[in-house]
Symmetry: C3
Subunit: 320 residues, 3 copies
Amino acid sequence: MKTDQISNAIQLDSSGRLIHLLGLEGLSKKHLTNILDVADSLIDSNGKLKKSKVLDNMSIANLFFEPSTRTRNTFEIAAKRTSANVINVDLKNSATKKNESIIDTMRTLEAMQIDMFVIRHKQNGLPHMVAESIGNVSILNAGDGINAHPTQALLDMLSIRQHKKDFKKLSVAIVGDIVHSRVAHSDIQALKTLGTTDIRLIAPPPLQYDAEKCVAINCYDDIEKGIEDCDVVMILRLQKERMLEAEIPNEQEYFDRYGLSTGRLALAKPDAIVMHPGPINRGVEIESSVADGPNSIILKQVTNGIAVRMAVMEILARKD
Amino acid sequence: MKTDQISNAIQLDSSGRLIHLLGLEGLSKKHLTNILDVADSLIDSNGKLKKSKVLDNMSIANLFFEPSTRTRNTFEIAAKRTSANVINVDLKNSATKKNESIIDTMRTLEAMQIDMFVIRHKQNGLPHMVAESIGNVSILNAGDGINAHPTQALLDMLSIRQHKKDFKKLSVAIVGDIVHSRVAHSDIQALKTLGTTDIRLIAPPPLQYDAEKCVAINCYDDIEKGIEDCDVVMILRLQKERMLEAEIPNEQEYFDRYGLSTGRLALAKPDAIVMHPGPINRGVEIESSVADGPNSIILKQVTNGIAVRMAVMEILARKD
Amino acid sequence: MKTDQISNAIQLDSSGRLIHLLGLEGLSKKHLTNILDVADSLIDSNGKLKKSKVLDNMSIANLFFEPSTRTRNTFEIAAKRTSANVINVDLKNSATKKNESIIDTMRTLEAMQIDMFVIRHKQNGLPHMVAESIGNVSILNAGDGINAHPTQALLDMLSIRQHKKDFKKLSVAIVGDIVHSRVAHSDIQALKTLGTTDIRLIAPPPLQYDAEKCVAINCYDDIEKGIEDCDVVMILRLQKERMLEAEIPNEQEYFDRYGLSTGRLALAKPDAIVMHPGPINRGVEIESSVADGPNSIILKQVTNGIAVRMAVMEILARKD
């Protein structure tokens, strides 16, 4: 499915309450702020994550059709911190091999009375299709194709809000493979909803949005122009196969043209924060001195990722 | 081991209490009814599974020598709903590779003070051999070769009992690969123990019981004769390799000859229930309109599968 | 790294309290005795392991870079018995594949606020390097290269202490591939710290310590001389590839020359105990009649392995 054909309407019930988290289009500033507030409340004054009993009677299934140990772990840790039971469904050996359709698998898991599915799939809109097909399970999109990765965007917003006061006054640069990035897509949506108007997308032309989309947003090929006076620099993870698509023959050349070095970071505001969804490719999209430097909040993002996922689970669990 | 050489005697202690669940031969109607009653008590009036603390201090190991995500998940979910600790032992990398015999592995897990083993193995009677070799662990047979699959039969009986009053008055048809099916074997045993006399087995001749066994039970080649006026139609899952054995060249031909279509279901009683252990092959052994139709209780079987496994775990845990 | 260059200094804080368990060099008799005492207190008078709530709010990650289902299971079971959350990180699909360095992976898991890492790695000193690189996580070495396997040695000491009164008066023989064995290394260290002076190492010459090391310890090629009048015989597990290195063409020849048979065991003291870290190769390093005989405490070692790991986790958790 093309990403602009995917509707998130089903994620709100008739009173506008969140019953699935499929994507950020269609969520109001109030929805986002509520999730961030709950997430903040799960972190104590020393930065330690709390443990709650909110999902004590609930079961959550991790359904990762694309392998991603890291993201799966964050959902598993978040679920266990809310005291939920967690089932990691091994989809390599599962019935989908035996010709059972994905929907039959989902209906079967629903009949096992799992309360929430965390779904990652390479197909755009797959979590939406599941949400439409089953009735009693909350769906949490953990990344679908190039469409959306809403919890990543929410943890990014939480991390920005902890360091910067007003989303409306921010200049935010996003650097990397914009066009294929579900993270960029969800981050742009979240920033718009929260009021940020100066969003700058920096990418090699083959990895940049098309001219039509770039009318409404600031597109750059030159990273040094793009990050000038920015408050926030969000670096995307580079997939090797994308370098070739962008006619960049090797990692050094990518770093030379688009990598975030100390020198380039000096063009942003002195208190600019540097973000990355991880895992980082040191020396490719970011210099180690920047990744480990005082402006980097990369590891704080990881902690916030647990808090945001706990918050979303708790909010979804409250529906009844 | 041949299935008729396997004894379940060890599953009862000297007072007749259940200490393992290896198979249904040797269990009385009282044993089965007790398990079904406990299972029913674990489902509330809205059909929701309860959560118990009965196994709060116990550990259960899932030992699946045959891969089966689905059945393993049901045991894991059931165990967690009783508050037990669950260990999924990865037998691919385990010591059985290193020449340690299976019994040594089992004794080692026993020494780790695991309280229950859930075992699936392609060898007939393997769970029985384990039960004989170790002293302090309850064995739960999750399917051994073509011998038995007792929890599947128990969930089937629970599903039937929820819809039909008296097992004695029922006509039950089982359709598919009878001779290789541990599910069929255990279902037939359970039905007999509960008093059903009209059991009809429908299969292509190469997948049917031999003439000797068919003396005591009703064997059919023709599905339309077999399901006439039935109260219950149990469809078995078709394994592709069995089609060839039955000289059926493709799925369409199997469906034409043995598949449960709306037309054929009309030959059974109007309130007949349709069952399948899942995952279903739509358009092969069952038509989608039947699988999803009003007579189907396939998804209810899944829910009952959790309740029955919780019930068996609780009953086994009470031995002391 | 060479094993004699590895320092465990970081495992104690400035007051001498244990904050990591990396190896046994540098730990006092008091440290070891404390761990054994806590472990003993976790076993009731019937030999049953207790369940504690000590780590109720903690999360433990199993990070096994070398596959070992058995040891991983013992840590998982131990952690769950202390009521901790356990995450088994699948390192096959993890970010280490994506060029993220191990340290970045560890820092990320630290940022997820995991409290303890259980690490097994083929590289000597890897757990030490991790302990030096991260600040807020306790590291538990589950085996690094040929360097150390401290929890195995501790469970061995607990098993000896349950059967023999005074470590100072014991004669202990260790048989097998001494030079490549992290188990032997840690056992020797533990025995020395606890006061045992008569330690005898029995190995084929290519698998024996070098002459320099054998000055301070008793090295034997001949098992019959080595185990004479011993109180304890510890058999190591034989790796097939080591037989060739020792110019032993097959398992029978290894057994003939170094295997523990009933006859050879008769050379030790009548109440000698026989130990093995498991899984055993029956008929290679040990005869079945010995492994299953009255002197064997092999399965008791397994139970003690859970108790010792629970004890270490509880002691590490108390740091603050």
